[in-house]
């Protein structure tokens, strides 16, 4: 073993260009806490499984910090081979031809056995080019679902085993809950942008932007100021006035989870990957799960929800041995065992059909109710142009614009249509900037 050698001998061997040395692969990621520990466990499993490559994971902070760190490193010529980028950064990464190494190309160049059809279309569809080629490797994908407090439902005289299916039911349930005094508020939500606008649009088969939600090119424009979105935002503003809905803040909506945990709000919409946190924090009550509500007067609803989360992007500028290692590691990562383990631990969606089937064989979904809601929801119907995902440049800033316009709506400064119109106008300006810089 190398470890038994003295340090000087190791240094000597290194200086002589030791033939036995492992190829190191740098992987920058944004998984802190328990997810980070699990990620390191997976990497350790890979490193122990073979002796040619050594993957070195490095935690770089939040999604934004990880992405900006990798981009800054690229500009300085110090980029890692693999970086985890959140879904809203997809437009930026895709446009950077020459900086990223598309995954399908990598697998082909390295002669790695790679069958794209093994992956769940609803997951990889978000990360493919217009020809359907996979550009990045999905790692942690989730989709928003509905959590509800069964105890409060019971107290309010509702059936604790029936989640509201439509927004009409949700309003009705919320009113009953508040009138009976079972809870102070009907519902809250994380991620206004992701859940109450992007997913709302996909779930009702409404376009988020032109050119297939931006998949078709940089010339895209936002179209989220349609009648369905306007009606929904108008409702949210009204429900907030009446106390049925409580706002959990911009971005991820950090204040929404405590509202649900403290039984202030009876229902809560957030990522399927929040399940572990919900279960751990819901100590005094039982949690029920449901799909996102929909408006039953909209044709084609419910369609399918879209994902969020992050994928692994390969960056250019490394020697070929490293890319061989990356290809090998990706094969390991997408194996059914590793995927099923990660999915069941974290609540993220499985990325391959095999991992989902494995979970079913193990009886995992029956033993853990609610864990397959997300996957059933994204696969409810074959994705359309409107529900495949979205791809816009400068989307990190556009997400902020969505939050700002929603705040203006809730504070009564504008009405729903006004907020959405302004959102579209400001968002389009950002998309035009991106087009000018990348066109």
């Amino acid at each position: 073993m190398i470890r038994t050698l003295s340090f000087s001998a190791l240094a000597l061997a290194a200086s002589l260009g030791a033939a036995q040395a492992q190829t190191e692969i740098q992987w920058w990621h944004a998984m802190g806490g328990e997810l980070g520990t699990k990620l390191e466990e997976i990497v350790a499993g890979y490193n122990a499984s073979q002796s040619d490559y050594k993957v070195v994971p490095t935690y770089k902070g939040s999604y934004t910090e990880t992405m900006t760190a990798a981009i800054a490193a690229f500009r300085a010529g110090e980029q890692p081979a693999v970086v985890q980028v959140f879904e809203v950064g997809t437009g930026t990464m895709m446009a950077a031809e020459g900086a990223v190494y598309p995954v399908y190309q990598l697998m082909e160049d390295m002669g790695e056995d790679f069958d794209q059809s093994a992956f769940l279309p609803a997951v990889v569809g978000y990360y493919t080019d217009t020809d359907g080629n996979m550009l990045s490797m999905p790692f942690n994908s989730s989709t928003p679902i509905l959590y509800y407090n069964k105890d409060v439902f019971e107290k309010a005289g509702l059936d604790p085993d029936a989640a509201p299916k439509t927004w009409g039911e949700l309003e009705d349930f919320s009113n009953k809950i508040m009138e009976s005094g079972a809870a102070n508020c009907g519902f809250t939500t994380g991620w206004i942008s992701w859940v109450q606008l992007e997913n709302l649009s996909a779930w009702h088969n409404q376009p988020i932007g032109t050119l297939e939600n931006g998949f078709g090119g940089l010339g895209t424009e936002l179209t989220v100021n349609g009648p369905v979105q306007a009606k929904h935002w108008e409702n949210l503003a009204k429900w907030q006035q009446d106390g049925l809905f409580q706002y959990g803040g911009p971005g991820g909506g950090a204040d929404s989870a405590p509202k649900f945990y403290a039984q202030e709000c009876a229902m809560y919409m957030n990522s399927s990957a929040s399940r572990a946190g919900v279960v751990a924090n819901a100590q005094d009550f039982e949690v029920g799960y449901g799909m996102l509500p929909y408006y039953d007067d909209v044709d084609g609803a419910p369609q399918n929800s879209i994902i969020g989360g992050a994928t692994l992007w390969v960056l250019q500028g490394h020697p070929e041995e490293e890319y061989k290692g990356v290809a090998d590691f990706f094969t390991y990562l997408s194996s059914a065992e590793v995927q099923a383990d990660w999915h069941q631990f974290s609540g993220y969606l499985p990325i391959t059909q095999a991992a989902y089937d494995l979970g079913r064989e193990q009886g995992y979904y029956e033993a853990n109710p609610g864990t397959d809601i997300g996957i059933r929801q994204i696969t409810l119907n074959a994705p359309t142009e409107n529900s495949k995902g979205l791809r816009f440049g400068n989307y990190v800033q556009i997400r902020n614009v969505i939050d700002e316009e929603f705040q203006r709506l809730l504070s009564g400064e504008v009405d729903a249509q006004g907020a959405l119109d302004s959102l579209v106008e400001r968002g389009n300006a950002l998309i035009r900037d991106f087009e000018a810089a990348n066109g």
């Binding site: 959990g248 911009p250 990190v396 990348n438």
Partner: protein
Amino acid sequence: MQTKRTIFRSRGLPYLLLAPQLAITIIFFLWPAGQAVWQSFLREDAFGLKTSFVGLANYTRLFHSPDYLNAMQVTLVFAVSTAALAMILSLLLAVAVDRLIRASRWYTTLLVWPYAVAPAVAGILWWFIFNPTIGIMPYVLASVGISWNHLLDKGDAMLLVIVAAAWKQVSYNFLFFVAGLQSIPASLREAAAIDGAGPVKRFFTITLPLLSPTTFFLLVVNVVYTLFDTFPVIDATTEGGPAQATNTLVYKVYMDGFVGLDLGSSAAQSVVLMAIVISLTVVQFRFVERRVTY
């Protein structure tokens, strides 16, 4: 004004002595500032793969952007209120402590304490206290009928960042005011007292004018503080929200450059910010300093 002249025998020695300071200034100030100026004329994608020279386009875009004009207004309100609050409050505290004879050291230590708290930590503390969902203050305020929600109410958010930023700076100002007050000879005030001047009269005609060098110094420091160093407080409490109500110029530089990866615009903003600070400092030294009695 008298100037002292030191005569060096060789011509090289003064330059040699200046060299370290000049090197630091060039490497850590002029060079990056020059880079920012150059970057502000470019349009570039995030990865730096496609770069084109666009002249003043970044600047024209900036001054036509309602968001940027809003950030200027926000910064003005924020800077003036924070500097005023921090200075008036610390002067009051300093005068109060100056009158104490025995316990003044204790009070001084306690009042300087907040300065040792890292700005990000201070920001988190304020975030906790005023969080509309889990904070203690909104709960207390609700019981007296005031609804607090800085996630939606622009006024609440502005108030929060002003109070948090000023709180951080009070300690620093306080320390300088105490030192300034102690350097004023007691005999002057006693003489005025014997002549029949009351405490208020004594404060405004003797203490305040004699304190003016300290006040002036603190004014410069506080303005620079509110423009630049309040970044962590804003980042930890409101993140510039709601709807850009607390998005100051320096926070916008960060958001556009490091989050939005629009380096051209971000560089142009930092050049504008640099120009603002330079001109403010010139104005302060040329006009305000004339009225200062040393």
